[in-house]
Subunit: 300 residues, 2 copies
C-alpha cells in the first residue's frame, strides 16, 4: 500500500537492481516500506467489522471503505441503515471528474430513502478535538495550523474542532446547497490532488482502503463537473455489505498502521526523509495526504 515510498521512477530492470543493492547494504536507513514490513502486530489497528463497508460493482470489482463513526456518527448510521435496507443495490456511479472525485448515488434522485435514515442530517463537518488522541504530524501544512492522525485517520484541527481531511481516497457525503441535505445516500471518493478546500464544507465519513482502482480507472464523465452524459451506461453497484452482517468466517479483515505506535513515527520520519538509493535530496517534509496510514489485509 505504501509502495509509493519505494524508489520510484526507474525502468523495470533497475528496480530489481535497486532492491538487490539495498539488500546488500543493511546499514542503510530503513525505507518507509521496510519500516511497515517490520512493524509488530501491536502497531496495526483493525477496522471494526461494523465500520467495514464493501461495495461491489456489476463488473465484479469490490471497493472497500473504512467508515469513521467517531467523526460523522449520524451519517455513518445512515449509511449502515441504507446498506442494510439494500438501498445501494442498483444505484450507479454518476460522476467521474478527473483529478477530483468519483461520485455514486441514485441518478433518478427519486428512489425513496428507507426507514431509519435521519433526515435532515446534521452537517457533521467537524467534531470537538476533546476526546480525540491526536498525534501531530510534525510538519508544516499549507492549510491548517495542526494536522496529524487519530488512530489511522488523517485529521486536521484548529485547536478546538477536529475533522477528517480530504486526502486521496477519502469518502465524503454529497449534499445540496444547504448543509443538512446530505444523508449518506450519495457518496464520493476523492480521486485527485487533495481538495482541502472541501474540509469543513462537507461531511467526510471514511476512506477507501482497498479497490479504489475500480473507481479511479473509470471513464471520465464528459459533462460539467464530470457527470456522465444522459444516456451513458453507468457503472452500477450490485451490492453493498457491512462486514459485521456476514458470518464471522466470511468477513474480510483490514488493518492500518496505528499512529499511536512507535513504528508509525518512524514511518512518518522516513516518508519525509527518503534515503533509498533513488533519492538524491530528501524533501525534509511530508504533507498529511502523503502520510496516509498504510493498509494491509489480515487473516483475522
Amino acid at each position: 500500500m505504501n509502495i509509493t515510498s519505494r524508489p520510484i521512477i526507474v525502468a523495470i530492470p533497475l528496480l530489481f537492481a535497486a532492491a538487490a543493492f539495498a539488500q546488500a547494504t543493511p546499514a542503510k536507513p530503513k525505507t518507509s516500506a521496510e519500516i511497515v514490513a517490520a512493524a509488530p502486530a501491536s502497531a496495526w489497528k483493525v477496522v471494526a467489522d461494523e465500520d467495514l463497508l464493501m461495495i461491489d460493482l456489476d463488473g465484479g470489482q469490490r471497493v472497500v471503505i473504512a467508515l469513521a463513526p467517531a467523526f460523522a456518527p449520524v451519517h455513518v448510521a445512515n449509511i449502515r441503515a441504507l446498506v442494510r435496507a439494500g438501498w445501494f443495490a442498483g444505484i450507479t456511479v454518476n460522476r467521474v471528474q478527473d483529478n477530483y472525485v468519483v461520485q455514486w448515488g441514485d441518478a433518478t434522485e427519486k428512489k425513496p430513502l428507507p426507514a431509519g435514515i435521519v433526515t435532515p442530517t446534521p452537517a457533521e463537518y467537524e467534531r470537538p478535538l476533546a476526546g480525540l488522541k491526536l498525534r501531530p504530524l510534525g510538519y508544516r501544512d499549507a492549510y491548517a495550523q495542526t494536522t496529524g492522525h487519530v488512530g489511522f485517520w488523517p485529521v486536521v484541527s484548529d485547536g478546538n474542532a477536529a475533522w477528517l481531511t480530504h486526502c486521496y481516497g477519502m469518502v465524503g457525503v454529497g449534499r445540496g446547497l444547504a448543509p443538512d441535505t446530505g444523508s449518506g445516500a450519495e457518496l464520493y471518493a476523492v480521486t485527485g490532488h487533495a481538495p482541502r478546500h472541501l474540509d469543513r464544507n462537507i461531511a467526510t465519513v471514511g476512506r477507501v482502503i482497498d479497490g479504489i482502482e475500480a473507481l479511479t480507472a473509470l471513464p471520465r464523465g464528459t459533462e460539467a463537473l464530470g457527470f456522465y452524459k444522459e444516456g451513458t451506461p453507468r457503472p452500477a453497484i450490485s451490492r453493498a455489505t457491512i462486514a459485521a452482517d456476514l458470518p464471522a468466517a466470511q468477513r474480510p479483515h483490514y488493518q492500518l498502521l496505528d499512529s499511536a505506535s512507535p513504528a508509525f513515527g518512524e514511518w512518518v520520519t522516513a516518508r519525509a526523509n527518503r534515503k533509498d538509493d533513488f533519492f538524491i535530496r530528501p524533501a525534509g517534509a511530508v504533507d498529511i495526504c502523503n502520510a496516509l496510514p498504510p493498509v494491509r489485509k489480515s487473516p483475522v
Copy 2:
C-alpha cells in the same frame, strides 16, 4: 443532474452554473471560474509551437503536453529530437500506478536512441532563480519556503535555485539510480496527490494540458510500482508530434492564464477563498498544486 447533486463538489467546471447564478446577483464576489471567464486576452499566455508536444495513442486519444525548456533545456531538446526521429512511435505505457504516475517508454529497453540525443543528460533537477520572474503564491506551503508561478508554470524556490514542482499532470523524466541516466525517452505524468518528495530528484519537463484522462483512466498495473504484468497488452503510442512541425494551419493552440496578469492574482485569491453558494467556510489558503494555471484551447 439536478440541483441537489450538481453543486455537491464544486470545481472549475462549475463555472457555467456559477456564472449563470452570478448574473442574477452581481453583488456576489466573483468565483475563480468567473474570473477566468472574464480574463482579458492579455492575461493569457500562449504555449509556443516548439513547446507543444502531442502524443497520440493507438486508441485515438491525444495527450497534449506543454514543454518547459526554461527549466530542463537539454531534456526538452532530447524530447524534440526523439519526436522528430519518430522514436516515440510504437513505444508503450508500461506503468500505471494508482495515485502516483503513468509512465511510458520502451518496454524492451533495447530500442536504440536516435542521433542528436545528449547522453549522459545533465540532471536538470533545478535551475538558478536568477533570470526568472517568480510570482509568489502568497500562501504557506508544506514543503518549501517559497512557491509560486513563473509565467504559467508552478515553481518552487529556496531563494537560490528554482524548480518545477510535482503537481498533478506534471511530466517528468524517468531515470535509473544515477542522476544523469534520464534522457527523456522515458517519461511519466503525475496522476495522483502531488508527490512533492520527487522535486529536485527528477527532471520535470512539462505539464499535460489536455487529454490527461487518456492516461488516468487506464487500467492500473498489477505488478510492483504499478508496472503492467509481462504479457499484458500495453497502450501504445502511435505518434508524437511537435506543433511547430505541422503546417501552420494545422497547429493546435493552447493558452494558460499568465501569473503576471492581474486576473491571475484575483484567481488565486478566489481559489483560496471560495465563496460561491456551496461553500460554508472558505479555506483561506490554497496550495501550489491546487493553483495550476487554467488552460484553454484557442483558435490562434
